[in-house]
């Protein structure tokens, strides 16, 4: 088909894409990377105990926050599509406990792991089903299923949750290393790259992002919104389940509440990673960087001798500062602020006078 152009697009204009659409995301990602470098440099130079860890010691620190990163990757998939999953923490607990209990029943541990991951995906599918079938807020649905998964985990775990898994298992998902690099980090790298490819380079990822931007328009464009969302929740459940397995391996024990403390950090990572909580905008690379940024920040502060309370609060403060920075980066916001001030100054008296009349 060809038609007479009424007027033509400017030639060569398509190169300008990165300058407009993705610019903010790029700036954000670069800023995160820079911040990470600055942070590591600071700890290395200013904290002797951190320096004395050596390369392998520093890399080993990762073992303590990569599961948060895994949950965050899954969470990011859901958030990109404009939803949220609050049940990921409970899901981690559940999958860890399930794996451990199955193993305790005599199942091969790897088989148990696969089954637990399957159950986690199923749990995610339940979330997705409730959200898409009844067309209701995922915030609320997952708020509810969070309790349910937690209860199931407690019930499965019983009084004395299993521990002391086979060596091969603990090595791979727990504390083993290849040279100075923890096995966990390698597994995480694989998952992270896969998640990044999924979102940035596949048809499914494209659908997901478009759904996040405008759900109705996606439907009208032939994207199967329900199915895509369902899979997003499955992905989130699966990655949360994987995190649960990692956690169990690292601690060499399963516990029914082990994931509870992972939810908020994971959401923090997602937001800090630059994913718009309303969906659409954001990059997996940002989430990955934010995992390391927050992780090293917390661990570094602890090694510096700060209390874990301080570390947690610093996390909150960093989050607020970054968000303020983000608003500031958004040059529209600046213009808006100027406009607002003008409004305020000139319109103040009137506004004050004004309710009644």
């Amino acid at each position: 088909m060809s038609t007479t152009p009424v007027s033509s697009a400017k030639p060569g204009a398509s190169q300008a894409r990165s300058k407009t659409a993705g610019r903010q995301e790029t700036i954000w990602t670069v800023a995160l990377a820079a911040l990470l470098v600055v942070l590591l440099a600071y700890f290395y130079l200013a904290v002797p105990d951190f320096r004395s860890l050596g390369t392998s010691g520093v890399l080993a620190l990762c073992e303590q926050f990569l599961f948060t990163g895994l949950i965050a990757l899954g969470e990011a998939v859901v958030v990109l599509a404009g939803e949220i999953d609050l049940s990921t923490g409970a899901m981690s607990s559940l999958s860890g406990i399930l794996m451990a209990s199955l193993w305790q029943q005599g199942l091969n541990i790897w088989l148990a792991t696969v089954l637990a991951l399957f159950a986690a995906a199923l749990g995610g599918a339940l979330n997705g089903f409730l959200v898409t079938r009844f067309n209701v807020s995922s915030l609320l649905v997952t708020l509810g299923t969070q309790f349910i998964f937690g209860s199931v985990a407690t019930a499965v775990g019983g009084n004395t949750p299993p521990y002391n898994f086979p060596r091969s298992f603990v090595t791979l998902v727990g504390t083993g290393t290849v040279g100075p690099v923890p096995d966990q980090l390698l597994v995480f790298a694989v998952v992270a790259v896969a998640a990044w490819l999924l979102v940035a380079r596949t048809r499914y990822g494209r659908s997901l992002v478009l759904i996040g931007y405008n759900r109705a328009a996606s439907r009208y464009s032939g994207i199967d919104v329900r199915r895509s969302l369902l899979w997003a929740f499955v992905a989130s459940g699966l990655l949360a389940g994987m995190a649960g397995i990692f956690v169990s391996g690292y601690y060499n024990a399963a516990r029914d509440d082990i994931g509870d403390s992972l939810l908020l950090p994971a959401i923090t990572v997602v937001v800090l990673g630059g994913v718009d909580i309303f969906g659409g905008r954001g990059r997996m690379s940002g989430v990955i960087l934010a995992t390391f940024l927050l992780g090293f920040l917390t661990q570094g502060l602890l090694i510096r001798g700060d209390s874990s309370l301080t570390a947690t609060m610093v996390t909150g403060v960093v989050l607020v500062l970054c968000l303020v920075l983000k608003v500031a980066l958004d040059h529209r916001a600046w213009a808006q602020l100027r406009e607002l001030l003008r409004h305020r100054v000139s319109g103040m008296g009137e506004l004050r006078a004004g309710r009644g009349a």
Binding site: Q64, N159, Y163, Y251, L262
Partner: protein
């Protein structure tokens, strides 16, 4: 009460005070910050670290979490602490990291709540499980008779010590009071509001219950409060395991009959002494093998305590102002709950309506 105390307490001895002893870094890591039991431990520890030549740090997760403790242990290893003392939030989760610490030459001592034996050198048990369980049951029977219905209030279904206590109570009941019946176990989730609702629920749902036995700090207060609120004071007896201070009101108004507990402040002191001795033992000081160690040892007479199964060892608490001699269990003891390398701190104290005012913890 001072608002604004810091959450990680650090105390460094002046070199002069620690005569002849190298200063060592000891960390005390309870389950979480802000729990009175652990604050009392800390108080005891702080009172003796000076003379023991200990550079002391008190740090814990903000909310009870085994993962939070693991992060802290990791950072303590990186900071080259000499001894880590901990009250384990979970017996198994910190095992790998504590083993890493031991491998790095750090002495690990658990107190209050033990970890797996493979992950610590010593455990300071509060008190023998059977002794404290018997105390509670005997007091309850004295109040309600040997045929009564009683209920237990615990924190969570998987709280290790509480499970042990419940077990000890059950075996004691089976042996001594076969007609005493435990009708239910309520779980207050370690917080007072839930404990209150649970206890209220129990009182309503089990009208025949004559005594409630709360064995967790929050459950104790919640139960007494439920009894008071429902005007059952004196009709339903409350006997439990907990500190007297938060319950003064209920002792006074008759909603609370008896509590059992060890001396938490003393336990903190003992933990620090143990830390010093374990360090000495690992660094060449002679073992404490004498049947009766010197009554008032000076630092130069101190001996170290080694991980050495199978041989009874003794040491004297006088160095930190504790009365008596402590023995280190050589092997596990089902009845008391002791395991290898366990020091049982003390017999429980009993708090009653007539003596509760004497205690400030």
């Amino acid at each position: 009460v001072a608002m604004g105390a810091t959450s990680a307490v650090t105390a460094t001895p002046s070199p002069a005070s620690a005569a002849g002893l190298a200063t060592i870094k000891v960390a005390m890591v309870p389950k979480l910050l802000g729990l009175p039991v652990f604050e009392a431990n800390q108080k005891g520890a702080l009172s003796v670290v000076h003379e023991l030549g200990i550079s002391f740090k008190f740090t814990a997760p903000a909310t009870a979490s085994a993962e939070g403790q693991v992060s802290i242990f990791n950072s303590l290893i990186a900071q080259h602490y000499n001894v880590i003392t901990l009250s384990a939030d979970d017996p198994t989760v910190p095992v790998p990291v504590l083993q890493k610490a031991m491998k790095a030459g750090i002495q690990v001592i658990s107190y209050d709540s033990d970890v797996a034996q493979s992950a610590r050198d010593f455990f300071i048990q509060d008190t023998a499980y059977n002794t404290i369980a018997q105390g509670v049951i005997d007091a309850a029977v004295k109040f309600a008779g040997p045929n009564a219905d009683v209920a237990i209030m615990s924190s969570t279904p998987d709280a290790t010590i509480q499970l042990a206590w419940i077990g000890a109570m059950k075996s004691y009941i089976a042996a001594r009071y076969p007609h005493l019946k435990i009708v239910t176990i309520g779980y207050g989730q370690s917080n007072q509001a839930t404990s209150l609702s649970q206890a209220e629920g129990i009182i309503h749902s089990y009208p025949n219950v004559k005594a409630i036995l709360p064995i967790d700090g929050a459950a104790v207060v919640g139960t007494a409060q439920a009894v008071a609120a429902l005007h059952e004071s004196g009709k339903i007896g409350v006997f439990g395991i907990g500190d007297p201070l938060p319950n003064q009101k209920y002792f006074a108004d008759g909603s609370m009959q008896g509590l059992f507990l060890w001396n938490e402040v003393g336990q903190g002191k003992l933990t620090m002494l143990m830390a010093r001795l374990a360090y000495e033992g690992a660094h060449g000081a002679p073992e404490c093998t004498a049947k009766t160690p010197p009554a008032h040892p000076s630092p130069s007479q101190w001996c170290g305590i080694r991980t050495n199964y199978g041989r009874a060892q003794y040491f004297n608490g006088a160095a930190v102002g504790l009365p008596g001699t402590y023995s280190i269990a050589a092997k596990a003891n089902k009845v008391s709950g002791a395991t290898r390398n366990t020091v049982i701190f003390s017999k429980p104290l009993e708090f009653t309506r007539s003596n509760y005012k004497k205690y400030d913890f």
